[in-house]
Amino acid sequence: MVTTSQILSTLQMIDREKLDVRTITMGISLLGCVSDDEQRLCDKVYDHICRQAKDLVRVGEDIEREFGVPIVNKRISVTPAALISGGIKNPAALARALDRAAKTTGVNFIGGYSALVHKGITSADRRLMESIPEALDTTDFLCSSVNIGSTRAGIDMDAVRLMGQMIKATAERTADRSGIGCAKLVVFCNAVEDNPFMAGAFHGPGEGDCAVSVGVSGPGVVKSALESVRGEPFDVVAETIKRTAFRITRVGQLVAREASRRLNVPFGIVDLSLAPTPSVGDSVAAILEEMGLESCGTHGTTAALALLNDAVKKGGVMASSHVGGLSGAFIPVSEDVGMIAAAERGALTLDKLEAMTCVCSVGLDMIAVPGDTTAETISAIIADEAAIGMVNNKTTAVRVIPVPGAKIGDSAEFGGLLGYAPVIPVHPFSSRLFVERGGRIPAPLHSLKN
């Protein structure tokens, strides 16, 4: 039997420490919607999504009410759009159909305007990648991602070059909104097929017809637990994080199982990620600082993050029957008040963030850079990040926003969960000749596992 003090501790986690389930994401395969007629493709996609996800938001709200735990987002991920848009000329029409489906079903993001080009670019992939600026400009809830490298295939530098240009073009097309289009565009290395978190979610080609996955959260709960072990050695810190992650994940597993049952859709995975939000008390940076760092970004930050990332996985993995997605700690700068403060005081730089991405679950995330950053520099940032992912067998990603007209020290406002970010400097030296080479960076030796 659960004791009164356990009940009250759960309530405290929800009320004061902002424990929530970050997202229920329904992955929907669109492979059955293929058509070479633009209108017919768009109609089939719209109808299929609306039919599959018609109860998603209602069921999410019911579970939220009955279990008393907030479920912040209800979202949809779909088959990478490039896989179904090969027969049509302008995939941006499909983007708008996806956006309409998101609005009809009431979800707040739909992900999967994506292409998987880690080894090569098909003509359909190229059309889709080139349509990303228009797609993100003419939609509200659509998210886009492109996988440009993998440990098995190496890094497709032609795709890296193109994506640098597309990020710049997206920023320009959404210049009146601080370049917000780029906040919904992720460039991956080793993208996972079952990630429930935006903006990088898509329903991979290896998935079934439909699945529900859950992304947990709870940086505030971990921070609060660590407050009770101040001054203790790291063994105690790791144990405390593991115990907390276990509890958080059990809630995620419960919600995932319940959502799967009520929607009559198979349960996909629970993603054990500590995802921050811009509200106070929901910060990953605050956890790192609680470990004894004066500011996130100072020396010791990478080690602190490595411990956190590992302990979250170890604690969470036993709490769920299927763990997947990105699973680790997220460090999106604009979505974390502690990261924002660290960047504003100059403690957190792009180089330090890059080092941090070697040991956590994603990559350079939600970082505002000056508006005059060139496409080649952005491509080079992507290449660096992809190299880290490729060599270390992990997912890495780049979601940077070259905010049009903004200079170092300015602030870019994206609103809501996307938060705001101080514009931080990039290196002023050119990477143009490096990026213009194109071709493929070969896969590392340890890709030859067979």
Binding site: V2, T3, T4, Q6, I7, L8, T10, L11, D62, R65, E66, F67, G68, V69, R247, R250, V251, Q253, L254
Partner: protein
């Protein structure tokens, strides 16, 4: 035998007359059986945890009724399915 669906009702706030009377009236009206109550008053703060069988009630209505009562009495009243606490604190 039918499976019992349990819920936990928690009440927090400044103590006043008739809290339990009001809450049990709402529970009775919603066809809810009370299984266990534990209550403490620390200084003026009232703190109650009540376990109830909600197998035969409409959860949504119960939740709305209790929230309304909470607003009337100036208390924070919540009802949650018990599985969330069991998941978190039991292996």
């Amino acid at each position: 035998m039918r499976e019992i669906k349990k819920a936990v009702v928690t009440v927090l706030g400044i103590d006043c007359k008739g809290i339990i009377a009001h809450i049990s009236a709402v529970l009775y009206d919603n066809d809810v059986n009370i299984l266990d109550i534990s209550q403490t008053v620390l200084e003026d703060y009232f703190n109650m945890v009540l376990i109830a069988d909600v197998s035969s009630c409409a959860f949504e209505k119960l939740s709305a009724d209790l929230t309304m009562l909470g607003e009337k009495l100036g208390l924070q009243i919540r009802v949650q399915r018990s599985e969330i606490f069991e998941a978190m604190h039991q292996v």
